[in-house]
């Protein structure tokens, strides 16, 4: 690891000061599970590391008028075990439970994971399927970005110079909806998925699809929302035939990278299979009577 100067600010104001002073030569560090490995491998060589661990008030989970506000420094384990999230947004609890190992989940945070921009991660597809947004705070302003729009390219996000992701806002799940996160793990249980799919589905009284979101992870350089598949089902009866036809469209939406988890062709085929299963399983989880 290249030598650097470590800073341990205790307030956001101090973080902004340090970002202003050191600019591109500084990296923010939350849990450090990604950054420390990147620094060890010399993929990242900052002259200044700004540790966020001592910055207070960024690790709470609470309902606000804008939705469930999850502080950026909440650990993945904290989210997985939150009673509030378990009761109100079980998809999130289930998704975070599927990340790596308990040890990594103790360290890694929701905010750190998002700004890392790794397309293989589990939380982004689930957060996008739930319509979540990220609150980006800078010294003089605050803006809210849909998590869907946060990812620009491979490990590239919409975080602007001087900004820090301070919280994630997740709206209430639509009434009468079912949701699921599927992670295809043909290797080991702590691996990244070969492909991953989050689906949130709601139905009208007559059984037609009221709304649907299908979002894939590990299927391209960013998380991918399968909009054509969604359009193919929205307003249509949720029949086996319609679901299969919609899932087939996923193959045109994805563009997986070939790696040791499989060829691009294999992952494309699996994306279709897991998208179909995700829609079927999400449907089955719609509460009876809706």
């Amino acid at each position: 690891m290249i030598d650097f100067e470590y800073h341990a600010p205790t307030s956001l104001d101090q973080v902004f000061e340090l970002l202003e002073k050191h600019g591109d030569d500084a990296r923010l560090m939350a849990g450090g599970t990604a950054l420390v490995i990147q620094m060890k491998q010399r993929l990242s060589q900052p002259g200044h590391v700004i540790g966020l661990r001592k910055v207070g008030d960024l690790n709470t989970i609470e309902w606000t008028t804008g939705g469930l506000r999850i502080g950026a420094l909440c650990t993945q384990r904290q989210i997985e075990q939150s009673i509030l999230i378990g009761e109100d947004l079980p998809l999130l609890a289930d998704t975070f439970r599927k990340v790596a190992t308990p040890r990594i989940r103790n360290m890694a945070t929701i905010g750190g994971g998002l700004v890392n921009g790794d397309p293989n991660q589990d939380p982004p597809p689930a957060l996008i399927a739930l319509g979540a947004s990220a609150v980006m705070t800078s010294k003089s302003s605050e803006r809210v970005v849909a998590v869907e729009d946060l990812f620009i390219d491979y490990y590239e996000t919409d975080v602007q110079p001087g900004e820090i992701l301070t919280s994630v806002l997740v709206p209430k799940a639509p009434a009468g909806s079912g949701s699921v996160y599927l992670k295809f793990l043909p290797r080991t249980a702590d691996d990244y998925g070969t492909v991953c799919v989050a689906a949130v589905v709601s139905k009208e009284q007559d059984g037609t699809c009221k709304d649907i979101r299908i979002v894939l992870g590990a299927a391209g350089v960013t998380p991918i929302r399968a909009k054509e598949s969604e359009d193919a089902l929205r307003g249509k009866p949720l029949t086996d035939e319609n679901i299969r036809a919609a899932a087939a469209l996923v193959k045109d939406a994805v563009d997986p990278l070939e790696d040791f988890r499989g060829s691009a062709e294999y992952k494309t085929d699996m994306a279709e299979v897991f998208a179909r299963r995700a829609v079927e399983q999400a449907m089955a989880l719609i509460p009876a009577g809706t």
């Binding site: 290249i2 470590y6 341990a8 560090m29 599970t33 540790g51 190992t101 040890r103 990594i104």
Partner: protein
């Protein structure tokens, strides 16, 4: 660049002046001299370097010592109580919980973390929690049996086992 770091390791305070890039595992092994904690994969996957940071299990190979300044650290050397092996350590001996032993400090730390959070884990819960601690001798059944036995013994000792 050097950095002042204060750590309480197994109950003893340490004030260190170490490079900012010092990893917690290296700090524990070389600056403090406790070599029970092992480094194996170096990328947070294998569990050999597991320690408790303020009671939470961390991978010390991907943790900067500076980042946990002010924390209480428990390593394998801090598990025994008053010179007596911890019930988890004794169970690993009694039930063949290790072969070559290099993963064992991490296994014991992980087991301690599990039983503190969930004193009566089911077999599936043990497997799920211990999933991130690899044993290349493939002694997994011995490890599972050891943890189950330790849980039972600790539960009885705590007076809630009936």
């Amino acid at each position: 660049m050097n950095q002042k770091v204060r750590l309480k390791v197994n109950g003893t305070d340490h004030e260190l002046d170490i490079p900012a890039r010092r990893l917690l595992v290296d700090c524990i092994r070389y600056d403090i001299g406790l070599t029970g904690t092992k480094e194996s994969c170096s990328v947070g996957v294998c569990g050999a370097c597991a320690v408790l940071v303020d009671g939470e299990m961390y991978a010390s190979c991907i943790t900067l010592a500076a980042a946990v300044d002010g924390s209480e650290i428990t390593t394998i050397e801090g598990i025994a109580e008053n010179g007596n092996l911890h019930p988890i350590q004794q169970a690993f001996i009694d039930h063949g919980g290790f072969q070559c032993g290099i993963c064992t400090p991490g296994q014991v730390i992980a087991a301690k973390s599990l039983l503190e959070e969930n004193p009566k884990p089911t077999e599936d819960e043990i497997k799920e929690y211990m999933m991130g601690n690899l044993c290349r001798c493939t002694g997994y059944y011995g490890i599972l049996n050891s943890i189950a036995a330790a849980a039972e013994k600790m539960d009885t000792a705590a007076g809630s086992g009936g």
